[in-house]
Symmetry: C2
DNA sequence: GTCTATAGGCTGATAGAC
DNA sequence: GTCTATCAGCCTATAGAC
């Protein structure tokens, strides 16, 4: 079986190299600059070869999208060490902003591009399961609000899931506005985000 | 002078027709679907003619961008009739969301596309003046927070301009997330936005 | 599996006739 | 001013040789 295994490994390797090269191109030229030709050139293969590993450009985009979301989860996860829920949510916000600004093109691809790309997150078989990065990221935030509720710190009748959505939407607003209109909210993000998070949580908690 | 005037008017008319056709194409096919050929075909002229009225595709995009912002201002302006500042800000939020969802492609073009397109808003000579739609939209929101401050209703040491930026960012977050990931914040916007706005303002006011 | 070659389409922008 | 024709380039995807 050694030969078959080796061939399978080589195939997986090339697939990984294709994705890695694609990631670099998206980083450098944006998603619009990602073309099959460029990818092939970057890994020294012919364009046709790519189609043996991916159905086409869209499939590569979807893989990158999921990978980016996985990276976001990885960037947010360390905050789980903070026990106090409000402090943890504030740390999540910081980490989220940081990720979005540092990995701008990745963030754009996942959250600001064509809806059909991000659609894969919900349509995949794992969607909703523990293995799904989208679910993991969401739970990371939702957990904080559930804990606050359990401690009786949420305003009565507040729905933790609705607050989670509101919180995430606000974070997304700061990041995405900064990426598209750098310099529009004149307030620097180091002040804007903490102010927003503080106001929001102050308004949500008793 | 009649002949010269007529020619000038004809020229301005064609320019307007080009923009109108472009707007329709962006509406139907998105910004990526806007091409010089399609525009020319829509108004029954040859592609070359477009270049007599615009330097190129980018200039058309910039004009559309400013026009879209102007429309946004028009959509928000009626709320100025509401005297009580908090109620007015809530109404602005509603109108903003409504505009973003109803004019999705326009909103995308102005606030979610290439930074170089929206850049024109700040670089134009009118930028910052009363005639500038960006400034007008911003003032519409900022006025509410200044009035709240004047009435002693803001938390001490709060900066109205920072709150304005935070408020706008949140609105943008709800709209843009909905446009890119329809169905991600599972909470329907009719609940999400009021919850967000209420929490935010509760946290900002004394 | 990988290559070369190419089909078949799109794009923005321009040159020169009228 | 407007047209036709075209340049020069890009793209995805595929067919057939090796």
């Amino acid at each position: 079986m050694g030969i078959i295994e080796r061939k399978a490994r080589q195939k997986a390797d090339l697939r990984a190299r294709i994705l890695e090269a694609s990631r670099a191109i998206v980083l450098a030229d944006g998603f619009a600059g990602l073309t099959m030709r460029k990818i092939a050139q970057a890994i020294d293969y012919s364009p046709g070869t790519l189609y043996l590993h991916f159905a086409g450009r869209d499939e590569i985009a979807r893989e990158l999208c999921i990978g980016g979301l996985r990276d976001l989860v990885a960037a947010l996860t360390p905050t789980a060490a903070i026990l106090e829920p409000r402090a943890r949510l504030e740390a999540v916000a910081q980490a989220y902003l940081r990720f979005g600004l540092e990995r701008a093109e990745t963030y754009r691809l996942v959250f600001m591009e064509d809806p059909t790309i991000v659609k894969v997150i919900y349509d995949r078989p794992e969607a909703g399961s523990d293995d799904d990065p989208g679910t993991q990221a969401y739970r990371l935030l939702a957990a904080g609000f559930f804990e606050l509720q359990a401690a009786g710190r949420l305003k009565p009748a507040a729905d933790p899931l609705v607050l989670t959505d509101a919180f995430w939407s606000s974070l997304h607003g700061v990041v995405s506005l900064k990426l598209t209109c750098p310099g529009f909210p004149a307030t620097p993000v180091e002040i804007l985000l903490p102010t927003l998070v503080k106001s929001l949580l102050d308004g949500m908690l008793v």
